[in-house]
């Protein structure tokens, strides 16, 4: 397969992103290497062809944001908002991911091999997120659809104000957010966890995971609750 590389110490980021956006040649699956990313923001954002992009180093904010179809791998850590608003495709972070990883993702799969920081999967809208390590506080906040698999621990207020997204956690949960509850794992849950772990190439036993979902008590206004939930 033909490969192409961009060195961000010599090529302006906008020039590279513009090339990736216009990339419509005969082999849309060809590999693109991004060298010396040095924490730059907005690397490989808005892709909409099935390219394979390898970011060889640490990425800054919003790496692979709005991704569609592309497979983006960050061989390092990612800053705030990696794969935010992803529509489809796969984004993999080999190191850790900072705040709001996969925020508002509509589709696709985000894999973080290390830890993900606070607000991972905030407002998730249908995407899947697999975190090999732990997630920070307020993860899954107001998540509407999609699945999160956390192989480590979860911080404070996990799944606060959840809608229909489901969170699977293998380790300890420091606290559940408002309206989030632990529910028994069903056969479909074991299947989902098993599939997502397989896609992420992680070897954990689905039996070790707990299911966190919405108690649906916040769906309707309750005058008797006196604003206390």
């Amino acid at each position: 397969m033909d490969s192409l590389s961009f060195d961000l110490r010599t090529t302006p980021l906008r020039e590279m992103n513009a090339f990736l956006h216009r990339h419509t040649d005969a082999d849309p699956t060809r590999e693109i290497a991004v060298l010396n990313p040095d924490g730059a923001h907005n690397i490989a954002v808005g892709l909409d062809v099935p390219l394979h992009v390898d970011i060889r180093g640490h990425a800054g904010y919003y790496a692979a944001g709005m991704n569609k179809l592309a497979h983006v791998t960050i061989h390092g850590n990612a800053g705030t908002g990696v794969a935010e608003n992803m529509m489809s495709g796969v984004v993999r972070v080999k190191g850790f991911a900072s705040n709001s990883a996969g925020a508002s993702a509509h589709g696709g799969l985000l894999i973080v091999d290390g830890d993900a920081s606070l607000r991972c999967g905030i407002s998730l809208k249908g995407g899947d997120i697999v975190v090999g390590g732990s997630v920070g506080s307020f993860s899954g906040f107001m998540a509407q659809a999609g699945r999160m698999v956390v192989c480590g621990d979860a911080g404070e207020a996990l799944g606060d104000s959840l809608y229909e997204a489901v969170i699977y956690v293998r380790g300890k949960i420091r606290s559940l957010g408002a309206d989030a509850q632990i529910e028994p794992m069903q056969e479909t849950d074991f299947q989902a966890v098993s599939e997502l772990l397989a896609q992420a190439g992680l070897n954990f036993d689905p039996e070790e995971f707990k299911r966190v979902a919405s108690a649906r008590q916040l769906y309707h206004w309750n005058a008797d609750a006196n604003q206390e939930y």
């Binding site: 924490g39 730059a40 640490h58 800053g79 920081s117």
Partner: protein, 298 residues
Amino acid sequence: MCGIVGLLIKNPALRDRLGELMVPMLIGMTERGPDSAGLAVFTDTLPDRERKYSLHAGADDFNWAGLGHDFQAHLAAEAKLSVQGNHAVLVSDLAPDTVRLWLKEHYPQLHLLSVGRSIDLYKDIGTPGAVAERYDFKALKGSHVVAHTRMATESAVTPAHAHPFTAGEDFCLVHNGSLSNPYEVRRMLEPHGIHFDTDNDTEAACRYLEWRMREGDDLESALRKGIAELDGFYTFLMGTTDKLALLRDAFGCKPAVVAESDDYVAIASEFRSLAHLPDVQNAHIYEPAPEEMYVWTA
């Protein structure tokens, strides 16, 4: 926004290169803080009785020689001055209160940036690159440095509102974020005789923590109390004679990344300010957890 930068040298051979290593880190935070910049550098400690006073004058043509002459004439003591345009470091072995009072009385137009046996402080308005050039930051030597690039969100853009802020001796703080109760903290501190130089929210945090340490807390317990008393968003980076300390609020709203190697501990709001440090690819890189105190000793 705002950018924070810290560098603590572990390998003494690199202390002469502190400024040279730090300047690209500071300039890397220009987009986060283009309106002002500043830093505190901790150098070899002066003998017991001596103090350094970092002074900022509004204009480049300030008559520093005249100030040195007046100091000698009024106080019958020598003032060693190192001048760089609108900035000077004055060294004297008189009691700090005597010098503070004299400066206030005779040179009220000067801004006393810091006092201590090891701290030198520089801050001014302008891009980080311009401020670094103005004071020749790349030539700075020392064990550790705390620096800041500012994008003002809640008070004026003036040299006095730039960071770092100081209180007491050999202590400084820089802040990325905003506090929601600075006036409450001020109202609590002012009856203790604590004076404020500006209306900036960060100054309240700085004076609160220094007050706690003066009351007998060590840095860690002062910070523990700060978590309870200071409300808002913050990544704080603090420097003392021999320590660098970092604290993020519970919500982790403001970023920080740390790179630790055998030679240094480097801290910045974002990795892009660390990317050019020597051997950073082999450093241990991590994101400091919220509400956890990170303290490194020089």
